[in-house]
């Protein structure tokens, strides 16, 4: 048992927190709106070999595990960086032979999140506005398709580079059965959770700074107990979300697909990586929404003003996770895994 970062993870944190602090200032984030993609920032990130960081060494990547990528994900969230590194990372990890262009980041890849039957109509695709390659599910298989990205996104809540895309069926390359996509989806949930932890952590920092500086009634509003207590509930939520995200990554990194996973929810012993990924995603989404809401509130009217940074975080805290759809569906998936699936005939039985 060890509840702190490894030396490697610390190095990743140092590298990327410094990088994003310098390159993805709020001005850069605003300038990238409404598309939500900054090609210059993406190029700088590529110069650090970030696009291939999570790819296995034998496939030409950096060989980082999911836990290291979680560290990167949190840094992305802290700066709400307008780069699709999370989508790109999970997509290239799912490809058996990622091309040199994808490894270098000269081309962007992404993952389709909606499972649909009988076609490649995947709904809104995260990073779909800028990604050439899309990994997604198709009739029990996992496929990759390529096409010219539109370069524009429908106007949206969080200024994300999302897009509806259409692909020809016969251009799809089969990558494997549906488990390839399922795993990529769990990885997307974990890294998105990490980015939401980053959003929440940075927002709390912003809130604490603000209430220390803002004076009303002749004293900093941060000296009022009502304000203090509203903020004091938040660190446990953020730390809890971070620990849960790391546990999910740890379980996923350690998971042997052939070994049975031990989960006994009655004994609070959950080690199944797919359940943990769902938990991390769902919890981090709630936490990021709550933290940004409260911190925006303590800014008073200025929190509602576009000029203040908290608004950038508030919208992304909601938008980044929502591209997967209503969390209600994910809660049902989690319940099925933890408590056993329910057949629809049973739904209205007895009660």
């Amino acid at each position: 048992m060890k509840v702190s970062l490894s030396e490697d993870q610390r190095a990743v944190e140092e590298l990327f927190s410094e990088f994003f602090a310098k390159t993805s200032e709020p001005m850069v984030v605003r300038r990238a709106e409404p598309l939500g993609f900054d090609s210059e920032l993406w190029s700088k990130l590529c110069a650090l070999d970030a696009p291939a960081m999570g790819v296995a060494v034998e496939k030409g990547g950096g060989g980082a595990g999911l836990a290291e990528l979680v560290v990167l994900g949190e840094c992305v969230g802290r700066s709400v960086a307008p780069v699709p590194i999370i989508e790109h990372t999970v997509a290239v990890r799912a490809l058996p032979e990622p091309s040199a262009e994808l490894l270098a980041g000269d081309e962007v890849a992404t993952i389709a999140l909606q499972s649909v039957t009988g076609g490649l109509d995947w709904g809104l695709i995260p990073a779909g506005a800028v990604a050439r390659t899309v990994v997604g599910p198709c009739d029990g298989a996992t496929v990759a398709v390529s096409g010219e990205p539109p370069g524009v996104a429908p106007s949206n809540h969080a200024c994300m580079p999302v897009a509806f895309r259409t692909f020809e069926h016969d251009t799809a390359t089969k990558l494997g059965d549906s488990s390839v996509w399922s795993r990529a989806l769990s990885e997307w949930q974990i890294l998105t959770a990490a980015s939401l932890v980053g959003i929440a952590a940075k927002s709390l920092d912003t809130g604490v700074e603000y209430v220390k500086a803002r004076e009303q009634f002749g004293r900093p509003i941060g000296s009022f107990q009502a304000v203090q207590h509203g903020l004091a509930d938040l660190p446990a939520l953020i730390d809890g979300a971070r620990l849960l995200t790391f546990k999910a990554a740890w379980a996923m990194d350690a998971s042997d697909p052939t070994a049975p996973t031990t989960t006994d929810v009655d004994d609070n012993d959950v080690n199944d990586p797919i359940s943990l990924a769902l938990m991390a995603y769902l919890f981090a989404a709630e936490v990021a929404a709550q933290v940004t809401d409260r911190v925006l509130h303590y800014h008073g009217g200025y929190g509602f003003a576009a000029e203040y940074d908290i608004g950038l975080y508030y919208r992304r805290a909601r938008g980044w996770p929502l591209v997967l759809g209503d969390p209600a569906a994910q809660y049902q998936r989690l319940a099925d895994r933890l408590f056993g699936a329910v057949s629809t005939d049973d739904a209205s039985r007895k009660r």
Partner: protein, 380 residues
């Protein structure tokens, strides 16, 4: 990060589970709720017989905070009353650390074998969260102390052999500095105990001190060093001694009922069960972090406050949900036909309010996080 337990810790955990399975039966639960005395002598003594209590106390045994966490985690998950045991261990740790040879000899063996209980005389009718304001007085008279005053929430005082008693010895000093801790035999003349009944079926007590005369041999940790002595107790607890896993038996009990009745098929109910499972996992991880930090030589005061803030709020939310979801069956108590989860759901509804009060209220824990973690200015 690595969330797995060592082989040794896993074996320790299994042994605790074995002791619980061997010694805790449903009729004991009935007895607790009938008598109001929530303690399990057979279980505690079996732990003692195996040397597990001694092993937990720093200085007497290994004193590994991870094992301390595992012990209370397992007891709480199994809905076994653990408060009486936590007081035994806290007082043992304090006496071992601060006590004289005489005190160690007289007190430790009886506590660590779980043949005796102890109780905590900290709070008073007029001193709760502001515990340093206690007014129970110990006044010097020749070579003796004369103690007068009263203590609240002295749970187990009616069965205990020992009381840890926080007194004011010097009212001229600032409030934290004029305090002295005593550890007294409960049969000392002048001590009397009155029951205080709670809405959670549990009996606690008010304990009164009328001209109680004792010598210096019962001072624990030195004259006017009472506040530091309390700190030793807190350092032992390290935020891992219970109160952060109540959601686990809650979910288990509710799910048992929901599956029997078919309610477990309702998506709205499944969502709340899944949310509770997430909260339980988070509460566990936060507590596990405190245990790990303590094992690494740090004192996780702020982290312990965070775990308690999160876990108790989440538990109360879950209790509210599940009592509602159980409908009228959630009204019925233990022993009534049709009671949800044999009456557990109704009981948890009465037990829940205690969790955000005892062992440091939510407000005190928020103050700790606000001042020591967020660095916010002292409140006005």
């Amino acid at each position: 990060m690595d969330f797995s337990l060592s082989t040794e810790a896993t074996a320790f955990r299994q042994e605790i589970k074995d002791v619980i399975a061997l010694t805790y039966t449903p009729d004991r639960r009935g007895e607790h709720h009938r008598t109001g005395t929530f303690a399990c002598p057979a279980l505690y003594q079996e732990l003692a017989r195996r040397g597990l209590l001694e092993r937990i106390v720093p200085g007497l045994g290994k004193g590994d905070p991870i094992e301390l966490w595992i012990l209370f985690n397992e007891l709480e998950k199994a809905s076994v009353p653990y408060d009486a045991l936590s007081v035994i261990l806290i007082v043992s740790a304090m006496v071992n650390r601060l006590g004289t040879d005489f005190q160690r000899e007289r007190i430790l063996a009886s506590l660590i074998s779980a043949k005796s209980y102890a109780c905590l005389g900290y709070s008073e009718p007029g001193s709760g969260s502001d515990v340093a304001s206690v007014s129970t007085r110990a006044v010097r008279d020749g070579d003796q102390w004369v103690i007068n005053g009263s203590k609240m929430w002295t749970t187990m005082a009616h069965e205990a052999d020992w009381i840890l008693l926080l007194t004011r010895t010097d009212p001229t000093l600032p409030k934290h500095r004029g305090l002295t801790m005593f550890v007294l035999p409960m049969d000392t003349p002048g001590i009397s105990v009155e029951p205080v009944w709670t809405i959670g079926s549990e009996r606690t007590n008010a304990t009164f001190f009328d001209d109680v005369r004792v010598g210096d041999e019962w001072v624990l940790g030195g004259l006017n060093k009472g506040w530091a002595a309390m700190g030793v107790g807190l350092t032992f607890e390290r935020g891992v001694v219970g109160e952060t896993n109540s959601g686990v038996p809650l979910l288990r009990h509710f799910r048992q009922w929901a599956e029997e009745t078919g309610a477990a098929h309702d998506p709205a109910i499944r969502r709340q069960m899944a949310q509770t499972a997430i909260d339980n996992e988070v509460a566990k991880l936060l507590t596990q972090r405190s245990a790990w930090m303590a094992a690494s030589g740090e004192l996780p005061l702020v982290e312990g406050a965070m775990s308690k803030l999160f876990a108790t709020a989440a538990y109360q939310k879950g209790v509210h949900w599940f009592q509602q979801r159980a409908g009228a069956a959630g009204l019925l108590r233990f022993g009534e036909d049709g009671a949800a989860a044999e009456g557990w759901i109704e009981y948890e509804g009465r037990h829940a309010p205690l969790c955000t009060i005892r062992g440091g209220t939510t407000e005190i824990n928020r103050n700790i996080v606000a001042e020591r973690h967020l660095g916010l200015p002292k409140c006005v």
